[in-house]
Amino acid sequence: MTRRRSTIAVWVVLGLALLVAIFPFWWMLVTSFKRPVDIFAGVSLWPQHLTFDNYSRLFGPYHMGSFLRNSVLVVTVAVAVSLVLGTLAAYALARFRLRLGLNEHALVAALLVRMLPPILLVIPLYIVLSKWGLLNTRLGLIVIYSGLNTSFVIWMMQSFLEEIPRDIEEAAMVDGDSRLTALRRVVLPLAAPGLAATAIFSVITTYNDFLIALTLTSTPDAQTVPVGVSTLIGKIQIEWGPMAAAGVIGALPIVLFALAVQRHFVRGLTLGAVK
């Protein structure tokens, strides 16, 4: 009897936690489908009159189309570049004992870069990029994100590559492959799940970045989705409907990606300390 009662209590607590976690998303979603009149018409957990007007205004006068295009371009290129640079480095660290304790130092350095809060970097980055003429360009963002994300790729891929037995690539090399061919033909396919998880994590953190893009870009020519979302708030009178719609657009791709990697979440977030 008491056991039964405690089980019910557990479910009540979990249900409540789930409600608290999910409801705010619902509130944003519902608001994004309401007409301005209905938004101000008191609490309603369902759009009184379903409208897509907020979304069409978001993609019209509020430039969401450009923000999305910029984000997709910047994130794709930066993640691709950092995956190549980071995986090569991770392979070197996982397979060779290097001089000067480089294996150890390189990993710690990568980890430190990963943990640095962006606010520490943006002020000098702003000054440096303005000197190079890369302010408010997508190229500038790509350069910065590629470099910063490389640290994460090194850290993740080193641990994934270490789990792959050496014998297999040695066999490939006996068959005449060069080291890099063996890496590409044999090791990477085996490391594919880890590589995919690393790529998706990289997409999430790069797409979600706000502060770097906020300081280094200033017009819809280069601004990314999070910055675009924040521009809707700066107005004197807040446009709640488009702002909610912008939040939905900003969240949607990431929620889908996150669900795809939830098995690897703990490893990615604790930087490998907990698997």
């Binding site: 979990l14 938004i39 006996v174 080291r179």
Partner: protein, 309 residues
């Protein structure tokens, strides 16, 4: 091409070791591009920033050396010290609440396995989305005219708080948002830790007649400690750098009630173009963070070693 790297495991056949020997130099070349990238976007800006903390800027132009003037000026800047205090309170409240809630939820879910997958997915959603979107969501929740927090307080017969309009409630409000966003992180890490615990000591304690509370404090918690510490320190480092949600929710206001070091440094640099002063703050912050990061790396290594064993 030829350098001095040594392959870790000597392969068996002679032909293989020849190949291995020929490839010996390549690891340094493989590291080079990544090393250059990290140097360009992290090391260089940090060094540049360190230098600029000793320079005088006006309207964004470098006017030459300022000696220690920037450091002296932040030392006497009470707004800066208020921001330091607010950041400390923000981080302590947020991390403690998140740890307790995360631990509680993880203990519940690890016991109740039916629908565990769905519950886990639902609970982790808040931390996956951009912090800016988190800010937008809570603007919509807190808004006095279109939000839902005020009506809910009203229905409960409580005073409607107007969360972001008053100094105390705004601070509580931004901490609550942090708790909403990041409790899932602590929950997930602790859950993973709990599920990897050895079962024997816990079983033994149960057989010896120890109640669940005793078992938790005598056995589960000590065993969980390495993982828990990693989670707490990583979260603390992250929380100290909080910027996005504050920028979207309050911009540090009302007054200076939610002004954190990050938002104050941002304003100093990009509203008042005093790069030197802002960088002096960031150098001070970096020194403090480096200490925490060293602790973090130690703890992570220990936890990783334990989970490997």
């Amino acid at each position: 091409m030829e350098g001095g790297a040594q392959a870790v495991a000597g392969p068996s056949g002679a032909r293989v070791s020849e190949r291995w020997a020929r490839a010996r130099s390549s690891p340094y070349l493989l590291l080079l591009p990544a090393g250059l990238a990290l140097a360009a976007v992290a090391a260089y800006p940090l060094i540049y920033g360190l230098r600029s903390s000793f320079e005088r800027y006006r309207f964004g132009r470098d006017l030459g050396s300022a000696g220690l003037a920037n450091y002296r000026s932040i030392l006497h800047d009470h707004v800066f010290w208020t921001a330091v205090g607010t950041t400390a309170r923000y981080v302590i409240f947020a991390v403690v609440i998140e740890t307790l809630l995360g631990l509680g939820l993880a203990l519940l879910v690890s016991r109740e396995l039916r629908f565990g997958g769905i519950i886990r997915v639902g609970l982790i959603l808040p931390m996956t989305i951009a912090p800016v979107v988190v800010g937008v969501i809570w603007r919509l929740m807190y808004a006095s005219d279109i939000g839902i927090v005020n009506p809910v307080f009203g229905w409960l017969g409580l005073h409607e708080p107007n969360v972001l309009a008053n100094t105390t409630s705004a601070f509580i409000g931004v901490v609550a948002v942090d708790v909403w966003e990041w409790t899932p992180l602590l929950f997930l890490i602790i859950l993973a830790g709990l599920q990897s615990l050895p079962q024997e000591p816990l079983e033994a304690a149960r057989i010896d007649g120890a109640g669940p509370v005793r078992t938790f404090f005598d056995h589960t918690l000590p065993l969980l400690m390495p993982v828990l510490m990693v989670a707490v320190v990583l979260r603390t480092i992250d929380a100290i750098g909080t910027f996005d949600q504050i920028f979207v929710l309050t911009k540090g206001g009302p007054g200076t009630s939610t002004q954190l070091i990050s938002t104050y440094a941002y304003n100093t640099a990009f509203l008042f173009t005093q790069y030197g002063r802002a960088m002096a703050m960031m150098v001070a912050l970096l020194v403090f963070l480096l200490l925490l990061m060293i602790v973090a790396i130690r703890l992570m290594r220990r936890a990783a070693a334990r989970s490997a064993a």
